[in-house]
Symmetry: C2
Subunit: 407 residues, 2 copies
């Protein structure tokens, strides 16, 4: 193993006063949901809203004045870019951030806003990487890797020091796994301080890179994931031996559970988690029996999620809970019928969100019309009640998938 507790403790001294010692709070509602005793470390409250600042700062502060003068370079489409740009500016170090051409505009702007020089290169992360390495060589820039670097890993590991200082009774830490820097640093620190603690990784099922590396497996890697922050094809060479030795288990989390975890953080804890940031909670939802009755420390790694995607997740969850229900009625095509139905829905306590009324389709009788209605209900039972009432009254309601512009 390339780092030890002393490296993480040194990182903690280095970052003190530069990176937020983020809140660590009991989460009673998540505890009720998971039947465990859950504590959350709110790394989304860092200035750039992710834990990446810890590793980035620990690396930057270690550079010689010659290295600082020449400047640094990083390749990232996400949180690492913002973390590096922000702390490089604070330290007066010129920063070049290479991002793929496909990077969302808001992330480019955020990185520029922190003073980074953004270079857009390559259709993919891999192409951007090649270009970034070329620029680094040409200009003599120091490379700041997002995870495969001992100083970066040691910086991320400071989270475990803070968590165990706050709640020494923790039985388990659950952390997102991408390249492995976060979990490796924290496993080193946590297991050295408390050998009995279990460290568990949560990896996106679509990107099981660490799973494959640890198990010698060959699961396919790729696809669109909500957890783009941990969608990594190659795990860190430095992290892998640490993970093998100190991590108890990698749990693969599917997209549905990632989505539910993001929603649970929002509705129960009133905090915004990005998909990767919520992976630890998602792992608890995937394998609840693994955590029952244990004291679990979750690292909410980051909160940088697109507002439109977040809005969509919230609405989809309401649909899943049947607090938003859509159904199709076939109604006689004569004046006044729409009014009758709308009035009836009001009496039933259904709040109408949308109506699509068409009479020009072949799939309804020539004298009929089709009415698609989306309503908000109090809960599942209320939705059933509304549909039963409409059925008894002869409107033949048929459930349809809610059609929101959000999806």
């Amino acid at each position: 193993m390339s780092i030890a507790l002393a490296d993480v403790e040194a990182a903690r001294r280095a970052i003190a006063g530069h990176v937020v010692d983020s809140p660590m709070l009991a989460a009673p509602k998540l505890s009720a949901l998971t039947e465990a005793s859950v504590f959350v470390k709110y790394e989304n409250l860092q200035v750039t809203n992710s834990f990446k600042e810890r590793g980035a700062f620990n690396k930057l502060i270690s550079l010689s004045s010659a290295q600082r003068g020449r400047g640094i370079i990083a390749m990232s489409a996400g949180n690492h870019a913002q973390a590096v740009a922000y702390h490089a500016r604070r330290l007066g170090i010129p920063a070049t951030i290479v991002m793929p051409l496909t990077t969302p505009f808001v992330k480019i702007e955020a990185t520029r806003g922190y003073g980074g020089e953004v270079v857009l290169e390559g259709e993919t992360i891999a192409e951007a990487q090649v270009r970034a390495e070329a620029i680094a060589r040409e200009r003599g820039l120091t490379w700041v890797h997002p995870y495969d670097d001992d100083l970066v890993m040691a910086g991320q590991g400071t989270i475990a020091l803070e968590m165990l200082e706050e709640i020494p009774e923790l039985d388990m830490l659950v952390l997102p796994v991408g390249g492995g820097g976060l979990i490796a640093g924290n496993a080193v620190a946590a297991r050295a301080l408390k050998p009995s603690i279990e460290v568990i990784g949560a990896e996106a099922a679509l990107y099981p890179s660490m799973w494959n590396a640890v198990h010698g497996d060959h699961r396919p890697i790729g696809g669109p994931t909500l957890a783009e922050g941990i969608a990594v094809r190659n795990v860190g060479k430095l992290a892998l031996p640490i993970v093998r030795q100190l991590v108890s288990e990698i749990i693969l989390v599917d997209e549905t559970h990632l989505e539910r975890a993001v929603n649970a953080y929002l509705t129960l804890q009133k905090t915004m988690a990005e998909g990767a940031g919520a992976a630890g909670l998602a792992a608890m939802l995937v394998r609840p029996e693994r955590f029952h009755g244990r004291k679990v420390g979750l690292v909410l790694g980051g909160g940088n999620i697109d507002p439109r995607i977040l809005a969509s997740i919230m609405v989809r969850e309401l649909e899943r809970e049947e607090r938003i229900v859509s159904f199709r009625l076939t109604i006689p095509d004569r004046p006044g019928v729409l009014g009758q139905i709308a009035t009836r829905l009001g009496q039933l306590g259904a709040n109408i969100l949308g109506v699509d009324h068409r009479r020009l389709f072949l799939d309804v009788p020539a004298k009929g019309a089709r009415l698609d209605v989306t309503v908000e209900t109090r809960d599942r039972a209320h939705g059933e009640e509304i549909l039963s009432a409409l059925a008894i009254e002869g409107y033949q309601p048929a459930r349809i998938e809610a059609a929101t512009t959000m999806e």
Copy 2:
């Protein structure tokens, strides 16, 4: 004034270990937005997600064992209900919570979930209040008022003690104003500890009850507000003299600024604020020059906002920023045209969110069709670019208000 610093200090000792000493953090992005130095006290991280627990607990713990045995009663459709129910159960005190018949189901369920006996009575808060007073008399229950009570005010005032302990340099505190309990308790504590500090209230412009009371004004009161938690018709008799003496100014906040403040907390601070909870930030957005260059402590009072409303706010903000744009095209009614336009939009980098294609309306030429398109853009300039390109190519684009099911 009916309370003094000593009462708030006593409350702090009473609530220690029972109510979260919530995080108080610098908010650099809100500072950049407002050109002030902003610190946020995250009261939405309380177990029931609002500051109301402080006052409720301080009141409940003060009861005699005879009073505890008979039980307590409260009237609230919101955060006070959950705070009282939660801490009454923790202390083994039977709690009756009277809520108006119009209370959203989720709030009723949440209150029941904390062990409160919920009595639904009255179409309005006023009717519910009359019924609650009758029940209190009949059953000999102790009344726990949401604000017009010295112990409740002293409990809320503990926030200022924590804030000034964390950041003694604060120049101003900005707090939401409803009945006045929160601001009165905190004004007493803050001004006693630091006489030079300014305490400023943020009140919903639709419910200017404290404004009217302080200024002898008669602005109309009523209407649907995002800040239902501070939509109060009668201010506290105990709070009013304190507000008159210790509060520098009441700023009235309109609905648009409340909405923007909720959105800013979410997108910049990654945290969920309800309308009333975000009122302080809204006041900073309404009167920015009042706060420029000052060290401002904001109390984020609560995070209990309906997910559907929150999703709507997020989408509306994207529309306001023109990251979601809708427009109508009039196109020749022949096969292949929709495909051409969709392809062209793809080339322009517009992500299509929705299409409504109709050819059966009187307002388009007989040989034409109407196409309503909603696209996601990178930013305002990108939206302009897309519309210009379509205009040059003869599609006569006309902007329309985005029609989402969310609004």
